[in-house]
Symmetry: C2
Subunit: 202 residues, 2 copies
């Protein structure tokens, strides 16, 4: 088995078990496309190292069922399941304010499907706003390579209008209500620059 | 191989071969005692439901190596490892401020061992303070059933004094520099009341 590239960008050797079943349904988690996540993690690392902000991605919520403790080596989780996140993926502190956001990408070109979010997250964002936190979503149109930052209040409005039948946010509304995050090199996604303009009026 | 009954009548474990599935070392993760964590989770749930604050425990950081996708059922993580947390376990927003803390318990009665924390967490707390967040630790003396809230600045001072040989924080210093969190029923650990006094001067 070749080394897997993990989201932190570091290669890590995979401990290969003797006699491990090479089942067809066994696929490597590390090979999942995670471009937006990787770019945001890199950007957050840069913000941390340069003292701009402290913002981290939360670990993937996992329900651990069974753990083995082999002698002289690290504990191995042998059975676990993915859990639905009850909050957003990213949070932290910037300029004294609580920052909280979710990041999603879509291959759609004209609108962003609301199925990328779920009820718990919407409720979470609403609560964050009520407590004076800054809450938003980072939306990437992957086919266009355009990234927008949209305040949670707008997402919540579109979410609540779903009953009327529209299951996505039209791109033109995202352009009008949100802000384009220009692509960069270091950091790759300089969303704090957009936050400065949107939430700190400068 | 079944356990062998030796002539003295006592059952004795069979030496386990390397690489063999080791049933003895397989323990259920759910059986670990997590009183402080459970009490804090319950308290945070209460705060969330009553609209007091939005504070969550972060998921346990796990390095996922292999996932199976059985047909017609949920994905199963078949191999994963615990990772050292680079941040603290709890964060969120309260009264517009970013809140960030770690919670630990010790069976010691006269001091709290610093080995409960690690360098990354100390650096994280320092960064949080620099960015205007509220950072602290909740320390439980489990044998005495006493819980204290101690601002991160004090923990960091003791951490940095470790070179002088003292590897723990004397309880009397925690009593003087920190605040006792009185035990309660709902919520079980009403630490926001202490935060009001310590950080909001009321």
């Amino acid at each position: 088995m070749p080394p897997i590239n993990y989201p932190n960008g570091k290669k890590q050797a995979v401990p290969v078990k003797k006699g491990a079943p090479n089942a067809k349904n066994t696929i490597s988690y590390g090979n999942r496309g995670m471009t937006l996540e990787e770019d945001l993690n890199k950007s957050n690392e840069y913000y941390l190292e340069t003292g701009r902000a402290v913002i981290h991605k939360k670990p993937t919520p996992v329900q651990i069922v069974n753990v083995e403790y082999p002698k002289r080596s690290a504990a191995v989780i042998k059975e676990a399941y993915f859990k639905l996140a009850s909050t957003t993926d990213y949070n932290g502190v910037y300029r004294g304010r609580y920052i909280d956001f979710e990041a999603k990408e879509s291959k759609n070109k004209t609108s962003f499907p609301l199925r990328n979010f779920h009820e718990h997250q919407i409720q979470h964002m609403e609560a964050i706003m009520n407590h004076g936190g800054i809450s938003f979503v980072i939306l990437r149109f992957s086919m266009l390579n355009e990234i927008y930052l949209l305040d949670a209040s707008h997402l919540i409005s579109f979410w609540n209008e779903q009953q009327s039948g529209r299951k996505s946010i039209p791109k033109k509304d995202i352009e009008t209500l949100g802000s384009l995050v220009p692509p960069g090199f270091i950091p790759r996604i300089d969303y704090l620059k957009v936050i400065d303009k949107m939430y700190f009026k400068q």
